[in-house]
């Protein structure tokens, strides 16, 4: 059967199980859009190509499958760069398809020609230019395999317009991936494994550092058994949240720069750290010279280049987290560890007193209360998609996730503007789920054009803007480290509720704590998307905080009486 390259692309995507793709048309990709119209694929028209990549990313993270984004050549492709980098840093399987000028014009600076494979080389797991219709099916299949195998990541396929227009025979089965035959390394020697087992069975104060890799490898069940057998307390990275229920007494919470104080202290006091699918990012270790000095380290990690990159480890078990944990399971001995677990409980110390949740209603609205009320009202079952900054950290602290893939957030790259489009993608992945955007007034203004996408697609995504009139996290750094010189952080915003109305979305503005829960409830009951503008305390800070490059145990703590000095002002 002869098909055009554009039709072959649509057929291949359909065969691969793709149902939705997120994109924006343009000259060099028009043949594909013409074919899309005749296909079963559902195309979501975005308002900016960055949004398309974040949507594909959100789709991938919520579903565990591959998300697909599409754009035209030139500016369409370059607009994708931030989204691709976001997916790269968080190991998210995204396939980006870009149109390219005809192969005869390549290199001639033709209209909307840009070397997008050159540009995205360091921020993709792989990328490729396709200039023959015959190569499209195989290359796209290869892209899917690469994106979602091993340590996942984004793959970009740049297809010239003539390849889209040319016709050739199409046979999905005959277009199997032909990836280069690579050397298979032995993941680890038996001695390495035995050393890990010995460390695990002899540790007095062990602690697990649980990362995103657990979710990626689908290791939740093996991890659960592993944790319970050894009675290992668990600390999570930001992206590891959800891999183990927050409600479990062994789950201590998030570690790192804005981790709970007792978690960071426990890390510093541990005699064994078991890192699973995490990469010792500087935001979780603080100063490496003082990081967990008494602890031996076991690193379970699929990416060999992460071993000994930041932290030197005593046993490196390279491999898929689930496989490694399943191999370790029969070798580890049951332990109760009453002393160590009791000690960690003691480490909580006065944290409860300092916790802003204990503060009586003093007429001020705090972001932490909004997020905690959202958690209660959604019974912790919503998919929460956050942006980057203070609200993101409060979400990690006060929304207690029990289920994997229910927190979608930009960790590694820290991309503001991620939340709204990523939530749209997550909603397409999980149409039955209660999807909430938790976003700051700064990040929201970066990609708020995607409100129109929500309306056009008639989907329900609720939006909680944590509006403090500042670029809050940067303001916090200015408060702590730049003597409160608030340069370029006070932020004027539109009336978000009115803006939502202009898009055809219901908008609410909340200024008092009593109104938070009823409004969240009413938003959940509504059949349509609701945007809620929460006017929160302007100069509240996220505590604890390990200053960048500081030691993990030396945190700036919330003052004992957590009153915040400024009142929310009417804009």
């Amino acid at each position: 059967m002869k098909l055009t390259g554009a039709e072959i692309l649509c057929e291949t995507l359909t065969h691969l199980g793709v149902r939705h793709l997120f994109g924006y048309p343009g000259g060099a990709i028009l043949p594909v859009y013409d074919a899309l119209g005749k296909s079963k694929l559902h195309h979501v028209l975005v308002r900016h190509e960055q949004g398309a990549t974040h949507m594909a990313d959100g789709y991938a993270r919520a579903s565990g499958g591959v998300g697909v984004a599409m754009a035209t050549s030139g500016p369409g492709a370059t607009n994708m760069v931030t989204g691709i980098a976001t997916a790269m840093l968080d190991s998210s399987p995204v396939v980006c398809i870009t149109g390219q000028v005809s192969s005869k014009l390549l290199g001639s600076d033709a209209f909307q020609e840009i070397d997008i494979t050159g540009i995205t080389m360091p921020i993709t797991k792989h990328n490729v230019v396709v200039s023959r219709a015959e190569d499209i099916a195989r290359t796209v299949r290869e892209a899917f395999v690469i994106a979602n195998s091993g340590r996942p990541g984004p793959v970009l396929v740049d297809i010239t317009k003539d390849a889209q227009q040319a016709s050739c025979d199409f046979n999905f089965e005959a277009s199997a991936p032909k990836l280069p035959l690579k050397r298979q390394r032995v993941n680890y020697e038996k001695a390495e494994f035995d050393r890990a087992v010995e460390l695990l069975n002899s540790a007095k104060r062990p602690l697990i550092l649980a990362g995103h890799g657990i979710m990626v490898s689908g290791a939740m069940r093996a991890f659960d058994q592993f944790v319970r057998t050894g009675n290992f307390p668990v600390a999570m990275t930001l992206l590891g949240i959800g891999c183990f229920p927050a409600s479990d007494p062994l789950n201590l919470g998030m570690m790192g720069m804005h981790g709970e104080a007792w978690v960071n202290h426990a890390i510093q006091e541990a005699d064994l750290l078991i890192a699973v699918g995490m990469r010792f990012d500087d935001r979780v270790t603080g100063d490496l010279r003082t990081y967990a000095r008494d602890a031996r380290k076991i690193h379970i990690e699929i990416d060999r280049s992460e071993i000994n990159k930041n932290v030197k480890v005593d046993s490196a078990l390279v491999g898929d987290a689930r496989e490694v944990l399943e191999q370790l399971l029969p070798c580890i001995q049951r332990r109760e560890r009453p002393d160590w677990l009791a000690h960690i409980r003691e480490l909580k110390g006065d944290s409860a007193v300092r916790d802003i949740q204990g503060l009586p209603d003093n007429g001020h609205l705090y972001a932490a209360h909004v997020i905690n009320d959202l958690w209660k009202e959604t019974r912790g079952e919503a998919i929460v998609v956050t942006d980057v900054g203070q609200h993101q950290m409060w979400e990690a602290q006060y929304y207690h996730h029990n289920l994997p893939r229910t927190l979608v957030t930009s960790g590694g790259l820290g991309t503001m503007g991620f939340a709204l489009p990523a939530a749209i993608g997550a909603k397409f992945a999980k149409p039955e789920a209660d999807v909430w955007v938790v976003v700051g007034d700064g990040g929201f203004q970066m990609t708020m054009c995607e409100l129109a996408t929500i309306v056009q697609e008639k989907i329900k995504v609720n939006i909680a803007i944590i509006n403090n009139g500042f670029l809050g996290m940067v303001r916090q750094w200015q408060e702590f480290f730049y003597d409160k010189r608030y340069v370029a952080t006070p932020l004027v915003a539109p009336d978000f509720a009115a803006l939502a109305n202009a898009f055809g979305i219901r908008g609410e503005r909340i200024t008092s704590r009593a109104d938070v829960t009823p409004t969240i409830r009413s938003a959940r009951e509504s059949k349509e998307s609701v945007l809620i503008d929460f006017r929160v305390e302007q100069e509240d800070s996220v505590y604890p905080m390990v200053p960048a490059g500081g030691s993990l145990h030396e945190m700036i703590r919330r003052p004992n009486s957590p009153l915040v000095e400024t009142a929310a002002t009417e804009l």
């Binding site: 494979t117 050159g118 080389m121 360091p122 797991k125 792989h126 690469i146 340590r151 990836l179 280069p180 035959l181 690579k182 050397r183 298979q184 390394r185 990416d303 060999r304 280049s305 071993i307 000994n308 990159k309």
Partner: protein, 179 residues
């Protein structure tokens, strides 16, 4: 200085991916050579990089993450032969020529071009040997030089072959391989 050997897909852009990776890791490449193998779809690289063992491990492991890199191996700590090839154009007139010829003999270099005022020498060997020859040639006047960069091979039965390409029958089977 660390030496890595890599087998890569022989297609456009692969050299860029490899060098771009070293740049991203802030590793300075001292020399990088690429040459064909007996399989025309595979090329062999020798990479000499200014880094320590830890940097070399990162480079090696990161290189193997590239789809087009079939194998990358840090061979710095293994018994290794490294060779560099240099072409050196040196001033040579009637007076200096006999003296030059003596030196050339000592260094086992070869004269591959003779002109009235200059010679081109070809010399291969370790970097030290070539640097040594250059040192003694400098007073005569080195006009131009081209160096190939290092190629390297592990000694004896320590084989580094592209994946999926077993040694041909009879080849090195007796050389105490399987090392």
């Amino acid at each position: 200085m660390q030496t890595l050997v890599a087998y890569v897909e022989n297609k456009p852009g692969v050299l860029n991916r490899v060098s771009s990776l070293a740049r991203r890791l802030a590793i300075n490449i001292d020399s990088l050579t690429v040459g064909p193998t007996d399989n025309e779809e595979i090329a062999r690289m020798t990479i000499v990089a200014h880094t320590d063992e830890r940097g070399a491990h990162r480079l090696e492991a990161s290189l193997e993450k590239l789809v087009d890199v079939l194998l990358a191996e840090n061979v710095s700590e293994r018994p290794l032969l490294e060779r560099d090839l240099a072409l050196i154009k040196v001033t040579a007139d009637q007076k200096t020529r006999p003296h030059l010829m003596e030196l050339i003999k000592v260094f086992r270099a070869r004269v591959i071009d003779v002109a009235p005022e200059s010679l081109i020498l070809e010399v291969s060997g370790t970097v030290d040997k070539i640097d040594g020859l250059l040192e003694v040639l400098r007073p005569f006047g080195v006009l131009e030089m081209a160096r190939s960069g290092r190629i390297a091979m592990t000694r004896g039965g320590d084989l580094l072959r592209p994946p999926g390409a077993p040694p041909k029958t009879g080849e090195l089977e007796t050389a105490g391989s399987k090392a």
